[in-house]
Point group: C3
Chain length 474, copies 3
Amino acid sequence: MNAAPHPLTLHEDRLFPSDPTQRAIARRLYAQVASLPIVSPHGHTDPSWWADDAPFANATELLLVPDHYLFRMLYSQGIGLDALGIPRADGSRAEVDPRAAWRLFARNFHLFRGTPSSMWLNHVFHEVFGLRLRLDDGSADLYYDTIADALQTAAFRPRALFERFNIEVIATTESPLDPLAHHQAIRDSGWGGRVITAYRPDPVVDPEHEQFPSALQRFGELTGENVHDWDGYLRAHRQRRAFFAAMGATSTDHGHPSCTTADLPPAQARALFAKIVAGQFTPAEAELFRGQVLTEMAAMSLDDGLVMQIHPGCFRNHNRGLFERYGRDKGADIPLVTEYVHALKPLLDRFGNEPTFRLILFTLDESTYARELAPLAGHWPCLFLGPAWWFHDAPEGMWRFREQTLGTAGFYNTIGFNDDTRAFLSIPARHDVARRIDCAVLAKLVSEHRIDEDEASEVATDLAYRLPKEAYRL
Amino acid sequence: MNAAPHPLTLHEDRLFPSDPTQRAIARRLYAQVASLPIVSPHGHTDPSWWADDAPFANATELLLVPDHYLFRMLYSQGIGLDALGIPRADGSRAEVDPRAAWRLFARNFHLFRGTPSSMWLNHVFHEVFGLRLRLDDGSADLYYDTIADALQTAAFRPRALFERFNIEVIATTESPLDPLAHHQAIRDSGWGGRVITAYRPDPVVDPEHEQFPSALQRFGELTGENVHDWDGYLRAHRQRRAFFAAMGATSTDHGHPSCTTADLPPAQARALFAKIVAGQFTPAEAELFRGQVLTEMAAMSLDDGLVMQIHPGCFRNHNRGLFERYGRDKGADIPLVTEYVHALKPLLDRFGNEPTFRLILFTLDESTYARELAPLAGHWPCLFLGPAWWFHDAPEGMWRFREQTLGTAGFYNTIGFNDDTRAFLSIPARHDVARRIDCAVLAKLVSEHRIDEDEASEVATDLAYRLPKEAYRL
Amino acid sequence: MNAAPHPLTLHEDRLFPSDPTQRAIARRLYAQVASLPIVSPHGHTDPSWWADDAPFANATELLLVPDHYLFRMLYSQGIGLDALGIPRADGSRAEVDPRAAWRLFARNFHLFRGTPSSMWLNHVFHEVFGLRLRLDDGSADLYYDTIADALQTAAFRPRALFERFNIEVIATTESPLDPLAHHQAIRDSGWGGRVITAYRPDPVVDPEHEQFPSALQRFGELTGENVHDWDGYLRAHRQRRAFFAAMGATSTDHGHPSCTTADLPPAQARALFAKIVAGQFTPAEAELFRGQVLTEMAAMSLDDGLVMQIHPGCFRNHNRGLFERYGRDKGADIPLVTEYVHALKPLLDRFGNEPTFRLILFTLDESTYARELAPLAGHWPCLFLGPAWWFHDAPEGMWRFREQTLGTAGFYNTIGFNDDTRAFLSIPARHDVARRIDCAVLAKLVSEHRIDEDEASEVATDLAYRLPKEAYRL
């Protein structure tokens, strides 16, 4: 249906309100932040890209296969993952010509109209690859060939793109079991790009993860601690956190089903851990254990200064059949109702007023923005709000985030943008969207005479650059 | 207070943003969809209207008495239902001059300022009856007489209006116990209007409905099955579904208190049913039973191709006193918190990846749009989102629906508009509002350079016409 | 960072949409309501101000120390309450120069950018004190001195400000244990300002309040009733309600953790009360007791005509450490998920259809606006919706309130604005914001041709003046 060629444009005023007053202000604000360096303190890129600096393969491998935003939408319209060449849980993969997969994607690109994926991709197509026709059935091969040709050139190697994208610092996320060999290789290489890690201990914290027993085993081997004993387990965390910090980490990241925290007396914590390592626990005990570990992590943050992040509230792998065939992270994670006020109280009662403690909260349940998160962040000195996240990382989601947190938390209890992505090429596009939306939000405030333009200008720069650096101690 | 006569106008740009850029785009988009035929796949009109083609009585009987949106608002301001001539549960009715009831309504029409009811009614007044003064105390009699005169003419008979409204197809909703005599009469009449039914089995599915035992009894008589046995009960459903499909039905509709589904082993389902038919069940068992039946309905949909719809989350008959006197559907239904992620998992685990299965979800709990429904519909191939429904079928509600589902579900996991009404004359008004708002939403996207206008144009047509036909297999 | 002086302006079009069409309409509507008298039926000002008419002390004592909106934000950014001179729970207070505290506040005033606090304060600075430079580090002393000078003049005494502010009536809130001596003194003084009380019985209703036993004791002494017996307890309430009504009260106010109501048979209520007074109760019994008292209060309202208000859904004193040191109301209250549909049913089943009963509902959980509150208020004749409250008393919160309640409850099941404040000087600013936002909302409706401008004009006046008077029987 998209056979006729259509130009691909990237309008300089995209995402700005059409009202001329607001647009003019937004333009002026954006001009001040557009070219600021990218600070990316939270994401899931692969450090081997910069360690090895090997060329990317082709459009499908680079843009489609790793991006669950894309194939979840295609799957929702009846397109099977095998037809896109998505790897299966057992490591096998349908034999699919990557060009055929790309054509299938192109033919269905209209499904993404109005979604952030189409904005990000069009930005990549236009700015990174210089494409000037819209992606559709008719342009699929042009795209595939253009991208393939570019990827063979030096300018499209990971380190060159990192520099071209003006990335000041990027954090990846690793398990405590990761030896951080890629990060070491980057450091050893003499290349100047700043790629740091973040400590994400979920595999050794969540007893309901299918690989928890083996991960715990490995955790012990790696640290030389008796991790089947509560005190040894905590010491192992401290040791790995120190190693991660030495490799540049400034933060930890915790992706739990809820925001539950706990502060058990030591004897109870010890007894609970004994059940956990014995595999003799109820779901409620698993939940309590995860909550206790969060509080222990806070205690360690007081000592080592790592900024803590909690990303709660997702039902992982909602599609059992798909999970069994293709494994985790295949676009079948669904947000849940999430409660923060009671959930965080044990941790906050213990550490909430400590001047050096910092905890960044995220949510997939927007009903908590104005009701719980902004009031919490607008009171507790340790709490800051992460940006609109994952399913809400879209222009509308960003507007809702600002409009629902501004009154109570202001701008200065928020931390600017996280791209949270493994889609490397989309990083400039994502930061650009965030900067444009923050400028649009500020332009509306200025146009309604709620703040002066010089104040808006300062806030725009703070959100784009200063606050993320400060929040993550970068 | 409204004694001075005011003109009634229906502005050609109504509901479009006032920003000139957006308005111009919205106008162009709307021009392409304004006169498309009406596809009404879900509603509650009375098939006897088209079977009998008898004239409607008067303004009060036609517009006020059947419309719980109207008398709930009047009741909320202290106007009793008897004064409006609303029938009581026992079939009696206060002796009220319909003209006096109409005057009472007219005197209070200011209560509806800004509500969708006033928009719909003003559309009907202006377009259907040619009225050019606003409804108020002073114009009440003019309205009453004008409408009464019109209703006596051939042009205002149900079939004539159906044709004038350019309705391509309309679905009504019937209980499995309904003999579908009116639908048969329409077919036998030779008239060309397409009026189909939809299978709504709630009376024989909800054990907590006060008439469940007698309905079940009748279900057995009608089908010749032993419906007090689980297998016979399921066979009876299959038989009636086949009959409904033969009478044009392409969908089933399920109005449950929650979205709970269940997938019990056959022996457990059988044992549960035994308790249900014995009337020996707890509320939790009633809930489980309704959830099990939903999964059975999905199984049947795989065989007969009927599209499944779930409308969950309403506390019915919240006003006990009013219910006892006036019965059901008197404007006292109140939405509830509704959960989808856990609730749907049993059904989805069994049928969610079946290519021929289609399940359309509705909600009265908007907090689920971005959190649960868009992520579910943006992953599962069987799931589609119904439009903003009932209390949310208003311009603001439609904007929220689009702004909260677009990022994750896009446009193409939604199904266009349902009028869901028993107010026949308002059908063109309701579809017009939906088309205007979708064009306004698209115009905003175009004005902010997020999609091109040719794409918006295609989406507008898809939402107004193509998607509802495809979604309901019409 | 704000060293350069910046002008402080108060734009005449502030808070109006920048779109020229909407702005022009909003201006015209606002011109009709801008100077209407202030009706303030719900707030927490101190009646001693008008009883004594003593001058206020200085900027810090007047504007900063009593305003938990301000010091909660400062605290959230690491500024201790001692540095601001906030009194401690034991009555002591850090020795802080009020000028130094003011400078600290001024230096951090950028934290409030975009929040309602900055709007309210800038209005006070500009309109009440005639300041024309923005508050920052450089202007802190100018502010402090200007305000100190003004406060020594007769024009800045509480009664003079009351008159200057054009307050027609203001309600304070008192405990049943309050002798209302200040209200008596105001009446005895011959001054014409109308200052009334409201009956807020929480201290003798909430068994989980730390001072409940002593409050109950005092309740008995004050009324001469045996308040440890259920019937005596209820008689004591009736007696104090009558006294409050005699002192001008037209309403009661109930700040409960949830909206739970109960309607127990008398014997069960009596037995429950016996547990409560014995201090032998579970949290669930405390909740049930509070719910039972709400229903008893409704019964009394039928007799004495006091309008009932419920403000539910706040976790009080979320910061244990801060509470222990500084006591209640220190900005550490956090909203909770709040349910209304099941919670209100017992009370509504008993009194919901009584023509003289009136119950005004508030919420801190905006997800209930469209889902529960608007449908409830759009049906039950006794129910009305209070305005966007507390954390939601901001331009964005007011827009959400209107956009999420309008479709189902209209304008006429809402009651106009409450300032709900103890910050006396901010009262005109707060009402001004509410009037501007309601005019902006109406202007949008007019610009989109949904209501006519004469209708909008009537609604604007109703919301600003008529509805609050009627709702509170003033």
